[in-house]
Each structure stands twice: as structure tokens, then as C-alpha cells.
Amino acid sequence: MRIVCPFCGERELGEFTCLGDAKPLRPAAGASEDEVFDYVYLRDNIAGEASEHWYHGGGCRAWLKITRNTLTHEISSVEPAAGVGARQVAK
């Protein structure tokens, strides 16, 4: 796998770290135990196209949102994760 970072261009996989599924959102403070359990432990573990958070630690250190097929490793899109970086790219 090679990843085209929106800030740095195409880079090799070793520069990146995968955090996993981008879908789960941290429950609000005061959420029920069930919601927290679900967020921390349970996974959809998708076989197919999945949206993931990756960190470009060996480059610009930006968080990225990558759409990748877990059956083939094919990457269909890379965008900055929501935050300051994403706003810069949107300019």
C-alpha cells in the first residue's frame, strides 16, 4: 500500500499508523455504560470498503480519513480528517 497524503503527496505505508474504523464516535460525557462499552469494544469489522482514521506520523503528522477496501487493500479516497488541517485544504 502507498498512501497519497493530501499535504505531502504519495508516501510509503511505513510513514502511517492506522487507528481503525472512523465511524464510531466517542460518546458524550454522561453516556450510558452500554454506549461506552459499544464504543470501546465492539467493532463492525467490515469486510469491504471501510472508512478509517490514519495518522501520518512520518510526515506532516496530520490525521487523515481514508476509504480503503479491507478485502483488497485498495484505497479509493484520502482526505484530511475534520479539524484545522481539513480547513486549510478547503481554502
Binding site: 510509503e12 505505508l13 463492525d44 469489522n45 469486510a47
Partner: protein, 417 residues
């Protein structure tokens, strides 16, 4: 077909032309008492223990491809029971004891070789941690020896003892650990289970579960038709989430790819199974002479059964740190298997919230050594509807209860727990 010195001699004198199939390639019947999904080591071992220990012989093992085509054929063949946490210690030792009698039990040569497993340590803190683990093992009746530098030098004089950053200081040795022939383990369980009447059904992919009005599982839908079942056991590590999803379950598991490697054959070098304590690298030498080794998972979710270059580089660097002289040895093959990474790094063997469906999953990258133990405790659960005492902590609900078994503190994503 019973194997003995006489059957071997007979076959040899007839030019090895009269060997028979060692197990029956069965077609599905309408109904079984127990259907096991997954014809890997764990599924076949479960079927054999059901038939031999628990007297349940109307059993089918369903395999989507051919038996042993998943992780049973993709591991680094290491067997050991050097665990330190309650829950793991007893279970892996149960498994180790079953390895020691497997060939007699199954009447099959699984090439169990107790050549020893040594974990090298490279710092004072690591020595203390290994001493503690060794003591825990010995208190539980498992063999362990803490070797100092002189003893390691004597045993493995070829290691790099001049590594300034990670000097080898000694190692924790389990002499009863070692390796086994992974494919033979699959064939041996198939051989013995088939002889007791278990149907092994290949090219039979489960596509759904039959459920009655109360939600109880009544059987499975497969690519070879509907098969009724009193109970259904899942032993499909790597694909557990996908199969469980057919029954509406979400599991505390992520599927990750783990690579393994084998070098070209070289003369006998490594006398045991050895791990590098300052990185993640484990190696043994096969009877054919190849160095069989591996390291960490790639670190991203995958069902692709192949990995990427950064981990390959990292693993080979671990090997080079220990044995700089292997730098000129060529890599022969490399492959990937899909691991059920549970959230605490330990397996799950339990009933599921779906009546009639039982789960054997979450083996992370330690499933091979557990094969016989997993078969026994899963058969126990399926036959008796109660947890085996050596597997009583591998509960599905342990994450919710906070009773995780975090032996190494790693799961799919160590930063999340």
C-alpha cells in the same frame, strides 16, 4: 486405516502405491447433533473431542475451502505454554499436555518436537518480568528455567552478543515447548474424527443461520444446501465477525493480517524456538532447513491474507539484530493470515446471546499452540453446555465486566484499552 511400523513397511514394500485416503470427504446429511463451522485445526479438534471424549458422533465440520486452508496452514507452528496470567496459564498447559500425547491419541504423526522455546531478555527490567513469569509457571506445575548469559551463550553461540543497544542478557526457557507439523495436525484430527463417524464437508460455505420463532438456531444455510443442527459451533478465527454478523452479533474483534516468512534451506543452525525480546521476532528452523519466522501484525484491518513491506522490513531487522549472519540468506516465501484480534489479546470460548450458537474466536496470533486445548474445551462447552474449568475466563462478556485477560497488553488497538 491404522498407522504403525507394520503399515509403513507394507506400504514401502509395495512401492507406496497402496496408501488409502486418511479421512472421508463427506457429503452433507440433512441434520446433525452438532455442526461446527470451520475446518481448521480448532474445528476438527473440536469434532474429534466431541466424538472421542463426549460420545457425540453425529457431527459435521463445514469448511468453505479445503481443510487447513486458513490459519492452520499459515502459522509458524510454535507450541508452548509459557503464560503468566490466571486463565491463560492453566489453559495453555492443558493444551501442552494434549500436544504431548497427540500422536498416540490420533494415531497420526504430527511431528511434535519439544525442542524448547526461549524468550531472550535484554534488560534488567525484562529479566525481572521473565523471572516473575517463570515463577508463575513453576507454581502452576509448568516447566520454566531462567538462563543467564553464560547458559544462553553455550546454547546459542551464534547470536550477536555485541549488540550495544539491546545486549542479550539471558532468557526464559521452556524445554517442553517446541514445534509441530501444522498440516499434519489438521490431517491427524481429520483422520481420527472421520474414523469415529464425523462428516468433514469441504467446499461448503455457510451463508446464513436457520432460526426458529424464539430465535434459536436450528441449522445453517450453506452453498451445499440447508443443514439442520441441534447446536452450531463457530471456529472460524479470522472471519468470526463475518459469520457472527449473519446471526446479528457484533463482536469485540478486528481482523488483522499477520505475516510469516520462510528462508531458503540452510544447514542446522537454530536448535529451538527463539524470540527476540527487544523487538517482535520469533524464529525456528524447519526440518527442511528453512528459517521460519514472524513478527507483529501489519496494524490495519484486513481480510486480504497478504501483508505489506514495512512489517517485513521490521521483522527482518529483528532477525538481523539477533543474527547478523543471516543477512545473506534469501527469503523464500512470505504469506499472510487473517487474525481475530480480540480487544484484550485473549480468546473467546463461550455461548453467544443467540440460543444454540457457540463461539470459539479471538485467538489473535496464538491460535496454533491452542489447537488441542481449544478443541477439548469447546467440545466440552458444546456437549455439556457449561464452560470447561480451564477455559472459564474466556467469556464473551468479560469486556463489559472489566475482567479482561491482557497478558501482553495488546489487542487490535492497544491504545483503546
Amino acid at each position: 486405516m491404522k498407522y504403525s511400523i507394520f503399515s509403513l513397511a507394507r506400504a514401502a514394500f509395495s512401492g507406496h502405491k497402496n496408501w488409502q485416503r486418511t479421512w472421508r470427504d463427506a457429503s452433507p446429511k440433512d441434520r446433525y447433533d452438532v455442526v461446527i463451522i470451520g475446518g481448521g485445526g480448532h474445528g476438527l479438534a473440536t469434532a474429534w473431542f466431541l466424538a472421542s471424549e463426549y460420545g457425540i458422533r453425529n457431527v459435521a465440520v463445514l469448511e468453505k475451502g479445503w481443510i487447513g486452508s486458513g490459519n492452520a496452514g499459515r502459522n509458524t507452528t510454535i507450541i508452548r505454554s509459557n503464560y503468566g496470567l490466571p486463565g491463560n496459564t492453566g489453559f495453555y498447559e492443558l493444551s501442552m499436555k494434549l500436544w504431548e500425547r497427540m500422536e498416540q491419541d490420533l494415531n497420526y504423526n504430527t511431528m511434535v518436537s519439544q525442542r524448547g522455546v526461549i524468550n531472550l531478555y535484554h534488560s534488567d527490567a525484562q529479566r525481572d518480568a521473565y523471572a516473575r513469569r517463570g515463577n508463575t509457571m513453576r507454581i502452576n506445575g509448568i516447566d520454566a528455567e531462567l538462563l543467564d548469559l553464560a547458559a544462553v551463550k553455550k546454547m546459542m553461540p551464534f547470536l550477536n552478543f555485541d549488540n550495544a543497544r539491546f545486549p542479550v542478557q539471558g532468557g526464559l526457557l521452556q524445554r517442553r515447548g517446541g514445534t509441530a507439523r501444522h498440516d499434519a495436525v489438521v490431517w491427524g484430527y481429520a483422520h481420527a474424527a472421520s474414523a469415529l463417524g464425523v462428516d468433514i464437508i469441504q467446499n461448503c460455505e455457510v451463508t446464513g443461520f436457520g432460526r426458529d420463532a424464539n430465535g434459536k438456531v436450528t441449522g445453517v444455510e450453506t452453498s451445499r444446501g440447508t443443514i439442520g443442527a441441534g447446536k452450531v459451533g463457530m471456529a472460524v478465527a479470522g472471519s468470526s465477525s463475518r459469520v457472527a454478523a449473519m446471526a446479528g452479533l457484533r463482536l469485540p474483534i478486528e481482523s488483522h493480517v499477520l505475516q510469516a516468512f520462510v528462508s531458503e534451506a540452510i544447514k542446522p543452525l537454530i536448535p529451538n524456538v527463539m524470540t527476540f525480546g527487544a523487538g517482535h521476532f520469533y524464529v525456528s528452523q524447519s526440518d527442511k532447513g528453512g528459517l521460519v519466522f514472524g513478527g507483529d501484525i501489519d496494524g490495519y484491518n484486513s481480510y486480504a491474507q497478504r501483508g505489506n513491506m514495512p512489517v517485513m522490513e521490521d521483522v527482518c531487522e529483528g532477525g538481523m539484530a539477533l543474527m547478523p549472519m543471516i543477512g545473506r540468506v534469501r527469503l523464500l516465501r512470505q504469506w499472510g493470515g487473517i487474525m481475530d484480534m480480540s480487544m484484550d489479546g485473549s480468546p473467546i470460548i463461550d455461548k453467544t446471546p443467540v440460543d444454540g450458537l457457540y463461539l470459539n474466536a479471538g485467538w489473535c496470533y496464538g491460535g496454533f499452540k491452542a489447537t488441542p486445548g481449544s478443541g477439548l474445551v469447546f467440545a466440552h462447552l458444546l456437549a455439556r453446555d457449561e464452560l470447561h474449568k480451564e477455559a472459564a475466563r474466556f467469556r464473551l462478556d468479560r469486556f463489559r465486566r472489566g475482567a479482561v485477560i491482557d497478558e501482553k497488553g495488546v489487542g487490535a488497538q492497544p491504545n483503546l484499552h
